[in-house]
C-alpha cells in the first residue's frame, strides 16, 4: 500500500499540530492516516464538472430563514471571576502562562 504520509511529512504535521507522540502512538497514527487516505482516494472516482460548486454546508440560508446579526456592541460579562475559575493559573484577574518564546530586538 502506498504511504503518501511519510515519516517526514508526519513529523511536520505533529509539529504544526502542537503535539508530541510516543513512538507507538506515531506508528499507529501514521498507519491509520495512510489507511484513511486510501479510503479518501475513492473521491477521485467522482467525475466532477468544473461548474460543481463547493458546499461548505448542506442547508441553504436565505434572508427569510436567517437571524439578523446582533448589533456589534460590547457587554460586560456579569461574573468574570467565574470564567477565570476554570483557568489552570491566574494572578489578580490575569491568566498566567509559561515564558513566551521571543527574541530581543
Amino acid at each position: 500500500m502506498s504511504e503518501p504520509i511519510t515519516p517526514e511529512i508526519f513529523n511536520h504535521l505533529v509539529e504544526l499540530a502542537a503535539l508530541e507522540l510516543t513512538p507507538a502512538e506515531a506508528d499507529y497514527l501514521r498507519k491509520q492516516l495512510n489507511n484513511q487516505l486510501t479510503a479518501i482516494d475513492d473521491l477521485n472516482q467522482v467525475p466532477l464538472d468544473p461548474q460543481t460548486p463547493v458546499a461548505s454546508r448542506g442547508v441553504s440560508y436565505t434572508p427569510a430563514t436567517s437571524a439578523l446579526l446582533r448589533a456589534d456592541e460590547c457587554h460586560p460579562h456579569p461574573d468574570p471571576a467565574k470564567l477565570l475559575k476554570g483557568a489552570p493559573e491566574t494572578d489578580q484577574g490575569y491568566l498566567v502562562v509559561p515564558e513566551i518564546p521571543h527574541q530581543d530586538l
Partner: protein, 525 residues
C-alpha cells in the same frame, strides 16, 4: 407498571394533573439507575469493571434534579404550569455545557472543566420542567461509533447485551434511554451519532435539520455538520422533546428562524398519499478492505433489508405510495468526503484546547509556552482527537487542499443534489439505519477506517443537512435491535415523525415490541 416505565408524555400529563409528583417520578428513575447502571465512567477507570452493568453516566446530578423536581412540584402546588416537560427526567450527552456541572466531552483535557453557562437546548428543557439526571458518556469529543474511545471508563455497554457496544457517539444517551434510566436524552449527530446508537439500543433517535436546534453550548466537532437532537423510547416523546428544543436562538446565528410547528399535534395525521422512496444504494455498503487495500461492496444483511421492506409494506397498507429504485448515486462517497471535511473542522475546533484558559495543563517538563501547549495536548488528548487533528491539518494544507478539501466540498454538493432530486419525486426516503446490529466491544476499535464505515448510511444526510430519524424495527437472530431510517427534505421533521408514528402503531402488536433489554431482566433478578 413502575414509574420509570412511563413515557415522557405520560409523566408530564400526570404531574400536571396532580396524579404524580415530580419528586416521586425522579426517585423511581434514580432507583432504576442504581439498579442497572453501576459505577460511572472515570479517568483511569477499568474498562472491564462490572461487565453486566450499563455504565451510561460520567457525572450524576441527583441533587440538581431533586431541586428541579421540588421547583416543579412547587409550581404545581401554586397553580402554575411548569411546562411541557414537567417532571420528566432527562440525561444529557456530556458534550453540552451545563452550568456548574462538569462538562468533559469524555476527554482528559476537559476532565476538570466546570461549565460557566448552560447550552441553549439544555436550558430550554430545564425551563420546560425537565429534571437533569446527569451527563452521559460518549466517544472522546464524539469521535467514534462505539463509545470505546471515551477517556472515562468503563464506557457504556449495550443494555441488550452488555458484551456489545451501545453505538456512538451518543452511546450513553441511547443506553440510558434503553435501560429505562430516563425517558429522554439529548444527543448530537455529526455522521450518525444519534441514529446509529439509537438503532443499536432499540430506541428512537432524531437528527433534526442542520440549524433546527441551536448549537450554543455544544462543544464543537464538525461545525457545519453537528446537530443536537432527541433520543426517546417512542416517537411521540421524541416529538415532544423537539417541540421544546427547536427554534431560533440569538446566541447561534446558524439556528434558523424557521417557525417550529407543534410536532406532537401533527403526529396522528397518517401517511395516506405520501410518497416514500426506497433506494438501491442504501441496500448495499462499500467498505475498505485492509488486506486487499481496496474497496469492496456488499449487500446489507437480509435482516436489515427485510425490516425496511416490511415497514414499506405496512406504510403502503396505510395508504402511502412506495416508490422503488430512487437513485442516490453518490451515497458511497459520504464516508470519504466526511473523512476530509469533518477532520478539517475538528482540527480547527480543537486548537482552542491549549492549557491556558480552562481544562488540563501539563505540569512537568515545561520550558516555555510552546512546550506547555505540546505537553498539555500530548498528555490529555486521546488517540482519536490526535488522529483527527493530524488528518485535518494534512488535507487542508496549502499544497493538498485542492486535491482533498476542495474536492470533498464539491462532492458534498453532489450528495446534497442526490437528495434534492430524490425529494422532487418522493416525500421521504426509507432505508436501513446501519449496516450491522451492535458489534462486540473490541470488535472494530483501533481500526479507524472500518469504524467510520459504520456510519455509511447515516452520514449523507449530515452532509446534506436534511433531517433523519432511526426507529426500532425488530430484532436480529442474536436478539439485538435493528433500526430503520426515514429521511426527508429540510425542516420536514413533522412529516418524518408522522410516518414514524404510523409505522410504530402499525407494528405495535409485533412480538419483538414486548422484548426488553437483557440488562433490565438481570437487574430485577
Amino acid at each position: 407498571m413502575k414509574l420509570y416505565e412511563l413515557t415522557a408524555l405520560e409523566i408530564a400529563d400526570k404531574v400536571k394533573s396532580h396524579q404524580l409528583s415530580a419528586a416521586e417520578v425522579l426517585e423511581s428513575h434514580l432507583s432504576q439507575i442504581e439498579a442497572v447502571d453501576g459505577i460511572p465512567g472515570a479517568l483511569n477507570g477499568d474498562p472491564a469493571a462490572e461487565p453486566h452493568k450499563v455504565h451510561a453516566f460520567i457525572t450524576r446530578t441527583a441533587a440538581r434534579a431533586r431541586a428541579q423536581a421540588q421547583a416543579v412540584d412547587a409550581k404545581i402546588a401554586a397553580g402554575q404550569n411548569p411546562g411541557p416537560l414537567a417532571g420528566v427526567p432527562i440525561t444529557v450527552k456530556d458534550i453540552f455545557c451545563v452550568e456548574d456541572t462538569l462538562s468533559t466531552a469524555a476527554s482528559k483535557i476537559l476532565a476538570n472543566f466546570s461549565a460557566p453557562y448552560t447550552a441553549t437546548a439544555v436550558g430550554r428543557m430545564e425551563q420546560a420542567g425537565a429534571l437533569v439526571l446527569g451527563k452521559v458518556n460518549l466517544d472522546e469529543f464524539t469521535y467514534g461509533s462505539s463509545n470505546e474511545s471515551s477517556a472515562f471508563q468503563p464506557a457504556p455497554r449495550n443494555p441488550w447485551d452488555t458484551s456489545r457496544v451501545p453505538g456512538g457517539s451518543s452511546g450513553g444517551s441511547a443506553a440510558s434511554v434503553a435501560a429505562y434510566e430516563a425517558p429522554l436524552s439529548l444527543g448530537t449527530d455529526t455522521a450518525g451519532s444519534i441514529r446509529q446508537p439509537a438503532a443499536f439500543c432499540g430506541v428512537v433517535g432524531l437528527k433534526p435539520t442542520y440549524g433546527r436546534v441551536s448549537r450554543y453550548g455544544l462543544i464543537a466537532f464538525g461545525s457545519s455538520l453537528d446537530c443536537p437532537g432527541p433520543l426517546a423510547r417512542n416517537v411521540r416523546d421524541a416529538a415532544l422533546m423537539l417541540n421544546v428544543i427547536a427554534g431560533a436562538d440569538p446566541r447561534d446565528a446558524t439556528a434558523a428562524t424557521v417557525p417550529v410547528p407543534d410536532y406532537v399535534a401533527e403526529l396522528e395525521k397518517g401517511v395516506r398519499g405520501l410518497k416514500i422512496g426506497l433506494s438501491p444504494e442504501y441496500f448495499q455498503i462499500t467498505y475498505f478492505h485492509e488486506e486487499s487495500g481496496g474497496l469492496e461492496t456488499q449487500p446489507v444483511p437480509a435482516v436489515m433489508k427485510n425490516a425496511v421492506l416490511d415497514a414499506a409494506q405496512r406504510l403502503a397498507e396505510l395508504g402511502a405510495e412506495i416508490v422503488e429504485n430512487v437513485p442516490m448515486p453518490h451515497t458511497r462517497y459520504g464516508i470519504p468526503a466526511y473523512f476530509v471535511i469533518s477532520r478539517v473542522e475538528a482540527a480547527s475546533n480543537l486548537h482552542r484546547f491549549d492549557g491556558v484558559k480552562y481544562g488540563y495543563r501539563a505540569q512537568s517538563g515545561i520550558s516555555d509556552l510552546r512546550s506547555m501547549y505540546r505537553k498539555t495536548r500530548a498528555e490529555a488528548f486521546g488517540l482519536q482527537p490526535k488522529l483527527r487533528i493530524l488528518m485535518g491539518m494534512y488535507v487542508s494544507a496549502a499544497q493538498y487542499s485542492e486535491q482533498y478539501y476542495n474536492r470533498a466540498l464539491r462532492v458534498r454538493s453532489l450528495l446534497r443534489r442526490d437528495f434534492d432530486e430524490a425529494f422532487a419525486k418522493v416525500d421521504l426516503l426509507l432505508t436501513p439505519t446501519t449496516p450491522t446490529s451492535a458489534f462486540p466491544i473490541g470488535g472494530l476499535y483501533g481500526d479507524s477506517v472500518l469504524m467510520q464505515y459504520a456510519d455509511q448510511l447515516t452520514v449523507p444526510s449530515n452532509h446534506a443537512g436534511i433531517p433523519a430519524i432511526s426507529i426500532p424495527a425488530g430484532l436480529d437472530a442474536d436478539g439485538l435491535p435493528i433500526g430503520i431510517q426515514l429521511l426527508g427534505p429540510d425542516f420536514s421533521e413533522d412529516l418524518i415523525l408522522r410516518a414514524s408514528r404510523a409505522y410504530e402503531q402499525a407494528s405495535a402488536s409485533q412480538p419483538w415490541r414486548t422484548v426488553r433489554p437483557a440488562a433490565l431482566a438481570r437487574a430485577s433478578l
